[in-house]
């Protein structure tokens, strides 16, 4: 069952940018693409734990600020030669507001 919770206005995240949401189990990064899609991923690069929200967003990918690993925002998979995956969470925009699925976030805290 989904339990969408209201996080913030879409415009509080810049286009081709990201902000973090604090949860009990670490930060979740909320990304906004040039096309106004939003994605939620753990704010941790699988390489050396770089904060992905501080990366450069291009297309539907983000480049980690520490060592330039490129991560797909849709699947969380590391692109190119490197291997790894970041957890992704359901996120959507409704009426200009960013929504996250609380059920999913809670499941993550338990896991």
């Amino acid at each position: 069952m989904t339990n969408w919770i209201d996080i913030a206005d879409l415009n509080e995240v810049p286009r081709r940018g990201a902000r973090v949401v604090k949860t009990r189990d670490g930060c979740v990064a909320i990304f906004r693409t040039a096309a106004d899609e939003v994605f939620a991923l753990d704010n941790v690069c699988p390489h050396k734990q770089g904060p992905l929200a501080d990366g450069i967003v291009h297309g539907a990918s983000v480049t980690c600020p520490l060592h330039n690993w490129v991560i797909s925002l849709e699947t969380g998979l590391v692109q190119g030669e490197d291997n790894g995956q970041v957890s992704t969470y359901p996120a959507r925009v409704d009426g200009g507001r960013i929504l996250l699925d609380a059920t999913f976030l809670r499941a993550r805290a338990v896991a």
């Binding site: 919770i5 996080i7 913030a8 509080e12 995240v13 810049p14 286009r15 081709r16 940018g17 902000r19 973090v20 949401v21 604090k22 949860t23 009990r24 189990d25 930060c27 909320i30 693409t33 040039a34 096309a35 106004d36 899609e37 050396k48 734990q49 770089g50 904060p51 501080d54 990366g55 450069i56 967003v57 291009h58 297309g59 539907a60 480049t63 600020p65 520490l66 330039n68 490129v70 797909s72 925002l73 849709e74 699947t75 998979l77 009426g95 960013i98 996250l100 609380a102 976030l105 809670r106 805290a109």
Partner: protein, 812 residues
């Protein structure tokens, strides 16, 4: 038995529903049609051609009085419905008449959204919705100024319609590019260019603050940057809201619109709704195609026929003469989605297809929309395009034809486009030389002098050779900026200057970028080139910067940051040191370190504490040290004549002057300076990007040192007899480096490429050029010589905080 059908609203959807009913079952219903506007149904989407003078109002009327009379529709135009009693199944008109119904259709449409800016109720502030609004705009002429708020479909049609009448029109749009819901940035850029050519002023990323009036009438629009745009009429075209008031009062289920099911039935089985007032499966509707579908479904439902409304892919075309654009489907970036982009800079054509699972799911086209229907049918039919993928972008006529030509951008340049800036050689001169027999780079160089000086245009010259000679010329491999483009840094820099490209979207379009918004490699480079070459025209894009330059601090391995306040020339005092010590305690800074650049580094500061620690340092007058930037870092000094028994000049004073002149400037890579007061060189000036050694007779300025991955001693640039000349030489050199170097080349690499003699000619020998370099540097510094910390503390502090804190929710 004939039933009573009451319809509220005579719009395009209800008009189509009535047509369907009277054609298929002329005797099934007694129809009564209410309309608040004092007229029947006209083709509202044709108001733009009426405004532009291409059509008259009479031509866009779809149902006239005779038609309603012939089909027995009782018209109550200019009358509102006051009340609906669903239990009694009656409608009460504004004049008190109570009419019984068996079935009721809502077609109440939508209301234009008026931004509640101060002054929005002034006379002369209108929406763009109906004939009255259109007539107000048609009354404007060459002596009038009009501001249109909203760069969407409707706003641009209004602007273009009035511009065609000679009106001075300005479009104010809050987003970064026009029609952002239908177009990507590249197509938005081309559209903006076309509108500007029509004489329309376009202001994007502009926030309206207040509408200014005089004697109750609109006078001007005030933007939040203080700009005043005078106007006689202000048109707000920022969107529509479904008109659901009456439905809500009647107790029907509503969300953003009136809820309907697939049969267009509302929460009351005898009440239907169609058009812009409905919400179906979470969606609202503003374009005409789905409204017509709904109208037919509603009519069939009333006739007890089985029908279902299904949301379909819709496409958008702008009705502005000379701006051919088309968009359909979903063109957002995504994983598993691939872009095919085609750009023809000469014709101003841009096409982008978004492919997923071997099917086209979205298309954006600008300039040439001749094939739009073919692409739209590929989207609707989900056609498997695997076999025609290679040539898909060229349209149906090219299936089986050639693949894209990467030289297209160069081929498109006009003959008078300057290729070699040093020697002023245009494309036409090179072409002529090639046709006269110069068939390789060396021959072109010796006959025309193109690329014979600094050499940065070599790539372009080679491409002109390739375009002119075709297969006879074998192109040497050159390193492109990144996978997004075939062009080298040098090519891109040259075109940014010669073609006056002043935005990221412009560069990507005119240089044939293969991706929609670049990548982490090309965007920071382009952002630098644009701000260096067009300091006034280009707006710095923080999202195209590495995190250190976006957050004005250095990211560390654990995601914390380091903070380094500027210490001019390495000089500090008790007040500053106390403030640093207090900040270290207050923000639990784990490491405080003295740097090699003669200042103090606070390491391990949390990202969310940055604005607060900056505010504390600002309070004692300290500013950003830019220790994180591709820009001026430090000017290291020794104590000079103030204290040292060997000092020959005031080296500390000169260092401070240089730092005050250069700070805040962005450069291709970091720039470090030093000034030593005597040849003992305690400030280690001979391994800096620019080093000054003071001697009795003046100042020895040397450049191109390094003490990083490479170790290099500086080379002498010139000896300056006065302090001012030492400063001038330094600034002119830094500006030359800013204008010509490849992004991420330190000055020593720049000098190796161009030659020290080439640098000296411009910075030392040619005094006019030196003065011009200094002037261009000062122009850029008028924008960038300021403290980014203070600016972020006052304007962006919130963006450093988490977007939300769900610690409690997660714990539940």
């Amino acid at each position: 038995m004939t039933q009573n059908l009451i319809i509220i609203g005579a719009g395009m959807a209800t008009g189509r529903a009535i047509e369907h009913l009277v054609e298929n079952a002329p005797d099934a219903f007694n129809i009564t049609l209410f309309n608040a506007e004092p007229r029947g149904n006209y083709n509202r989407i044709m108001l733009s051609p009426v405004l532009a003078g291409d059509k008259t109002y009479e031509e866009i009327i779809t149902h006239d009085d005779a038609w309603y009379a012939e089909h027995g529709v009782t018209c109550r135009f200019g009358e509102r419905v006051a009340k609906i009693d669903r239990a009694a199944k009656t409608v009460t008109a504004a004049n008190g008449d109570v009419l019984p119904y068996d079935k009721l259709i809502f077609g109440t449409g939508s209301n234009p959204f008026m931004i509640p800016l101060p002054g929005h109720d002034l006379e002369g502030v209108i929406a763009y919705r109906d004939l009255e609004d259109t007539e107000r705009m048609m009354a404007m002429g060459p002596d009038n100024k009009v501001v249109v708020i909203g760069g969407g479909l409707l706003g641009l049609e209004a602007a273009a319609g009035m511009a065609a009448r000679g009106v001075d029109v300005t479009v104010v749009h809050i987003m970064g590019h026009l029609m952002e819901r239908q177009l990507d940035e590249a197509a938005g850029y081309l559209l903006r260019k076309a509108l500007i050519d029509k004489g329309i002023t376009v202001k994007c990323a502009a926030n309206s603050k207040e509408i200014l009036g005089e004697n109750g009438k609109v006078r001007a629009l005030l933007l939040d940057d203080g700009t005043e745009l005078p106007c006689d009429l202000l048109v707000m075209a920022v969107g529509i809201r479904p008109n659901i008031g009456l439905a809500q009062e009647a107790g029907l289920a509503v969300g953003r619109g009136i809820h309907v099911d697939d049969q267009m039935i509302t929460s009351d089985a005898d009440v239907l709704a169609v058009g812009e007032c409905v919400e179906h499966d979470g969606a609202l509707f503003g374009l005409v195609a789905p409204l017509y579908d709904q109208a037919v479904v509603a009519a069939q439902t009333l006739l007890a026929q089985d029908a279902q409304f299904v949301q379909k892919e819709i496409s958008t075309k702008l009705k502005v003469t000379g701006c051919d654009l088309f968009s359909a489907g979903d063109f957002a970036d995504g994983d598993g989605r691939e872009d095919i982009v085609f750009r023809d800079p000469a014709r101003g054509v841009y096409r982008r297809l978004v492919i997923e699972d071997n099917a086209v799911i979205g298309a954006v086209m600008y300039g040439d929309t001749a094939d739009s229907n073919w692409f739209f049918s590929l989207i609707k039919d989900k056609t498997d395009i695997a076999d025609m993928r290679e040539t898909l972008i060229f349209g149906p006529a090219y299936q089986g034809g050639d693949t894209a030509d990467p030289l297209l951008a160069v081929a498109a340049l006009p003959r008078d486009a300057e290729i070699c800036g040093c020697n002023g050689i245009c494309k036409g001169q090179i072409e002529d030389a090639i046709l006269a027999g110069a068939d390789d780079l060396a021959a072109v160089k010796s006959t025309t002098k193109a690329s014979a000086s600094c050499g940065t245009c070599t790539g372009l010259v080679e491409q002109v050779l390739a375009v002119t000679l075709g297969d006879d010329f074998v192109m040497p491999a050159a390193q492109s900026v990144c996978g997004c483009t075939e062009m080298t840094h040098e090519d891109v820099r040259r075109l940014i200057k010669s073609q006056t490209l002043t935005s990221l979207a412009a560069v990507m379009q005119e240089c044939g970028w293969k991706t929609s918004c670049g990548c982490h490699v090309c965007r920071p480079a382009l952002n630098f080139y644009l701000l260096a070459d067009w300091p006034l025209e280009y707006q710095d894009d923080p999202q195209s910067r590495f995190i250190n330059e976006r957050k004005h601090a250095n990211i560390q391995k654990d995601g914390t940051f380091s903070v380094v306040p500027r210490m001019w020339g390495g000089i500090t005092n008790g007040n500053e040191l106390r403030a640093i010590a207090d900040a270290a305690d207050k923000y639990n800074v784990p490491t405080v370190k003295v740097t090699g650049g003669q200042r103090i580094d606070l390491l391990g500061v949390k990202g969310e504490d940055l604005p607060a620690i900056w505010a504390d340092l600002n309070a004692v007058g300290m500013v950003s040290g830019h220790a994180y930037s591709k820009g001026l870092r430090t000017v290291k000094t020794c104590v000079g004549t103030d204290h040292c028994r060997f000092g020959t000049q005031d080296s500390t004073g000169l260092g401070i002057k240089l730092e005050k002149a250069l700070w805040g400037s962005w450069t291709p890579h970091k720039v470090k300076l030093a000034v030593s007061g005597c040849p003992r060189n305690c400030a280690e000036a001979t391994c800096k990007d620019v080093g000054v050694i003071c001697v009795d007779s003046g100042y020895e300025v040397s450049v191109g040192g390094a003490a990083g991955m490479d170790l290099k001693e500086t080379e002498a640039l010139a000896k300056a007899p006065t302090e001012q000349e030492a400063i001038d030489l330094t600034i002119a050199f830094v500006q030359l480096y800013r204008e010509h170097a490849k992004y991420l080349d330190r000055p020593y690499k720049f000098i190796a490429k161009f030659g020290l003699d080439w640098v000296k000619e411009r910075v030392v020998d040619d005094l006019d050029e030196r003065a011009a370099l200094i002037e261009r540097f000062e122009l850029s510094q008028s924008i960038y010589r300021k403290d980014p910390w203070a600016e972020h503390v006052t304007q962006k502090a919130d963006s450093y905080q988490p977007l939300a804190n769900l610690m409690l929710e997660a714990a539940e």
